[in-house]
Symmetry: D2
Subunit: 367 residues, 4 copies
């Protein structure tokens, strides 16, 4: 989609832990990502019609039937100004039973409906011989570039993303749910990163970035936002600045432990310059691929791998999450191309080379 | 809709507090309720087509523009096995900005989308000059009688309910979101009740009942469920037994205080025989009509009435909620007519006269 | 201590599930209970001196070293008007590492200090080679009968209770932490109950009761409180009406699942007449004896038994909790002798035979 | 106590908002701070005896009777590995009714008992004519330097701190509850900072720092921890790395809004290099001086100033908290002198001039 470099390609290494093969959420074995990107029209906003700069991104924890083989999951709300779906049941039962979809704020209900319908198609017993299905959807507000009222992501777009989902490298920047989002006044979007532990676990993150003021941007601690020129077309919405974080791991965590990982996403966000603004919907959704929880179980109990909170694994996992989130956000910025949207609103691509030079200069001066 | 008596018409008085004029949520001034009831087809289930035994019920806190003039609100999850929409933002901001809609579990996303679209129609600035809108939807699972997969409640049905909403007496039983639900093995549905305080406040409740095992039903403490014959067509789904509770008051509470009221709904539910079953989505949504919170505010601060937790009002409000919920659930049972649905599944009307006689006998024997 | 009958001895069977051998929390294998009861002085209150009507009750999950071999635990707050200690860390880590102590409200800190000191004595590495210890203490307010300001429960009283703890039958009524508490205007105190499942699990409950208005008392659903004469010496404090519930099980639950059990305590409380009053500290603490979690673990992961939420065990466990709590509260009432305390304040023993006759009459009339 | 400079004295300006007169929590009018510092003995640890390197710090929201005139308050747990007291009741009722005390982890119960006794002395009706009192205490683990088992902070030390509390400049570094704590491998302790808004509100923060790995320290974004030599005596406890944050403001917030402020403390912590480690008890306690809530209220309702979440005040308040926390932590480091404790364990003072030079060099190179 883009040939812009990732932050690490420019010599900026976030944190101290080892990265995975693709430095992506897909480094957690079995996890797949799919995007549908919707771009059409230009010129003045015609509410309900266009221009369209939006999309949907789906994350699939495994390639089986998620309703019948659920994954252990958790959610965490840093700032709850948002319209996420599915959180109550994940808190209660500690499982996720659909793919996780990200989209724009007014589209969240249509995308949830599409996920539910996809589940019904795959598991026709839903609503017939068994109960309902809990769709998990997150969102940010891409209304600066996109016609929000049109709710342009329809069922077929969600299904296309599900079918297109794959492992390996993940398209980043202005793609899928990140097509119309903004980050620190620049074009943001989708970013991803991963960390692998020599003793055996992997953590991966995918973010949809739509938050931050230009002056607050920090890259590897360097307050770049104060040094570079502000993007020309900065318009700062009073609300709708948000970020969705999706965490995946193969460590055998409980939902309580996964929630502990979620909390560390806030550290990664703060390090790039967020203070979780009033109007920001900052949500984290996590899952582990270590267990498969059948929808119905005949056995009273099963044996399941468990990981001690006190053991050294948590001392690796928690910082790994913070690093992945920090790098994932930066990748969403470094990789995103300029997008012109409704009313000529423009989100410029971050001047990646200039930023990298500033960070490098800074590093050299310290050395 | 029905001429079946309410529980109080049969001489059974729940609790000790005074009831409002209509003994309904609409006794809280300005609150309106609207239903759309969908009944069509019969015979075998054709997934996605019918038979249809479902609907939608909407509760409007006031007759103005809710997006521009929000109400203070709160939510509470007793058992989170459910697909409610809108909870995270109510927790964060303490306000409700759309009508509250109740429907069936697979229809929740379509109904939320319809609420969002209704808000956009009324407030065209949404998504154009300001942020998104947070739709509030609750649900229970009416799949024993209804074709769930069809998601038969469409935008026009929601809008019809919104337009039809009115104060005064509220239709109860197998109506609106209660068309296809079950309660203690009998036909349940919508119920309502209210309490008024001589010193000036009103509390009203509306419930959508879909929970309970036949043997556990208690009416005014009398374990009726053990004494009457079980309904003939009892089928007990392993999950999907749920209840939605909507609370309204005119007392000037904060969202924290409203949440304290929500917690007392559990007492009312337990007294009729619930133990908040594993598969039950038991959720409470509350609002007060005492304040209107503008979407944007120029003044830094305003003066607002506040009510002391320690004052005697809370000593009236908390029990009032428990009483309203207990009576509201019973009204949903006493008022519901028998419904035959998919595959000939039948939920019989509670034998109200027989039950009342048992309760009366019990009371007399104690006297 | 008392020869007053338990509620079941009088022919009143709460619920439908089978009771354990002792119908006590100690039916969960390995669980022990100890009391220290403090009664001294009479006449007018001399704040800080007496009269003394208080005590401490301790529950030990197993007979090993709890700091080194923790149990999985959970907590739940129904109404947070209380001074419990230790909740934050149990929420975070899902383990309990000291005995659980119950006492009076102003004594909670001294009792926590005594627990911490007992842990240090048993595990001298605390604070030297390893971290701190999280004492778990609950409380209710026995100030109607007792000199609260004196904080009369000292370290030696806690240690005595720990040393005296045993399995088997549990002393109930005006004993230990229940020495000075009140329930529905009568003398309350300590109560316990248990349920056993034919397929293999046990649930046990111990309560410290200090809540309820006389007119609200219900015994097996019968509104006894409206029928019997009010206790002569009723004084209703505006606050300080509380209840502590301790749950034990041997089912291999996670802390999330244990918390689900805790929530069902509210159903038991509501059935005897609670609506979780404003001034009531209504807290639940739960643990399972199924796992032992070492303070330090060398292995990255271990295998641990896990129980499916969707399996039939949860359908037994959740109602079992509600039943145990209902019966435990009633046992605390039926077993407590009259106590005269400060300023001649009197809490009369419940007229158990009269109450039982009313319940029996009621049952017969229905039959 | 120390003549070491604060971070701002060395030309490092954290953030972009204006600081208050003393750049301290006491810039919120009426707020007072008191310390008792306990230093005695040296040489090998004699558990229960010494050496002693600990203390207590108290924060008083106003100079009246806090039990009778409570302040609106909130709490927030970032990572709950800690033994704080008083959180449940603050969550439920949204008020704080004692001074807030900070101390070491094993001393928390004794300090809470001392606060309760101080309240009783000031309000002799507690436990006699009215209910109990909810002591609020936070802690971190100073066991690397201090004899934890001795629990050396006694009632008189708490009372001395209460009596000594004053407005104006606040002693920082190795003082009070910060006497024995560590931060990023250096000597940490107490730090404070404030921000004032031209339109009228003030935010102040006081922290007790005991967290962080040497290599993670960042000063104004500059990764100083990677550049300076590690402190010579680094020993990294596996647990017990914690931070307490106390927030004060005069903005008329509700407890819900105060909690929103608390959440932003995490941003400040992350910016200096925290990722909220597994063993860290990271807690935030906040209050506003804008309201006084009487213990008993005769009026049903009162008028109270309220601040809109959507208004521009929240857009100042939230970043102000993050800035104050970041600067407060740095002040705790910059101001602390070297302390030698038990077993000769040493926490060195941060080489402040060297660090400042690195930050300045970094800043210049960017310019």
């Amino acid at each position: 989609v883009t040939d812009r470099p990732r932050v690490r390609d420019l010599g900026i290494e976030i944190g101290r832990l080892s990265v995975g093969r693709h430095n992506a959420i897909t480094d957690v074995a079995g996890v797949r990502v799919g995007h549908t990107t919707l771009v059409s029209g230009e010129g003045p906003l015609r509410p309900g019609e266009g221009p369209v700069r939006t999309g949907v991104t789906v994350i699939l924890p495994h390639d089986g039937n998620l309703f019948r083989q659920k994954v252990v999951g958790a959610v965490h709300t840093i700032n709850g100004f948002g319209k996420v779906c599915g959180f109550e049941e994940i808190r209660e039962l500690g499982v996720i039973e659909t793919p996780i979809a990200l989209t724009n704020t007014l589209n969240v209900y249509r995308v949830a409906d599409a996920l539910a319908q996809a589940a019904v198609r795959q598991s026709p017993e839903i609503g017939v011989r068994t109960s309902s299905v809990n769709a998990v959807v997150g969102e940010t507000n891409d209304g600066y570039l996109n016609d929000l009222q049109g709710r342009h992501v329809r069922q077929e777009h969600v299904w296309t993303a599900l079918e297109a989902a794959s492992g390996g490298p993940v398209a980043e920047g202005a793609v899928g749910a990140g097509t119309g989002t903004s980050c620190f006044g620049w074009k943001g979007g989708i970013g991803t990163a991963s960390r692998v532990w020599s003793e055996g676990f992997t953590v991966g993150v995918l973010v949809q970035t739509n938050f931050g003021r230009p002056e607050n941007l920090r890259v590897d601690g360097v307050p770049v936002g104060r040094r570079i020129s502000r993007p020309e077309d900065v318009h700062r919405p009073a609300a709708g600045e948000s970020v969705m974080v999706v965490l995946a791991t193969d460590a055998p965590l409980t939902s309580r432990q996964l929630r502990r990982l979620c909390v560390r996403a806030a550290a990664g966000l703060a390090r790039v310059g967020s203070d979780f603004g009033h109007g920001s919907g900052d949500f984290v959704i996590a899952f582990t691929t270590a267990h498969r929880i059948p929808h119905r179980s005949l056995a009273l109990t099963t044996q399941r791998a468990a990981l001690a909170d006190e053991g050294r694994a948590m001392f690796w996992l928690l910082p790994a999450v913070a690093e992945c989130v920090e790098e994932g956000v930066l990748n969403s910025l470094f990789r995103a191309e300029t997008v012109v949207g409704r009313d000529g609103h423009t989100r410029h691509a971050l001047p990646a080379e200039q930023v990298a030079a500033l960070v490098k200069l800074d590093t050299d001066s310290r050395g």
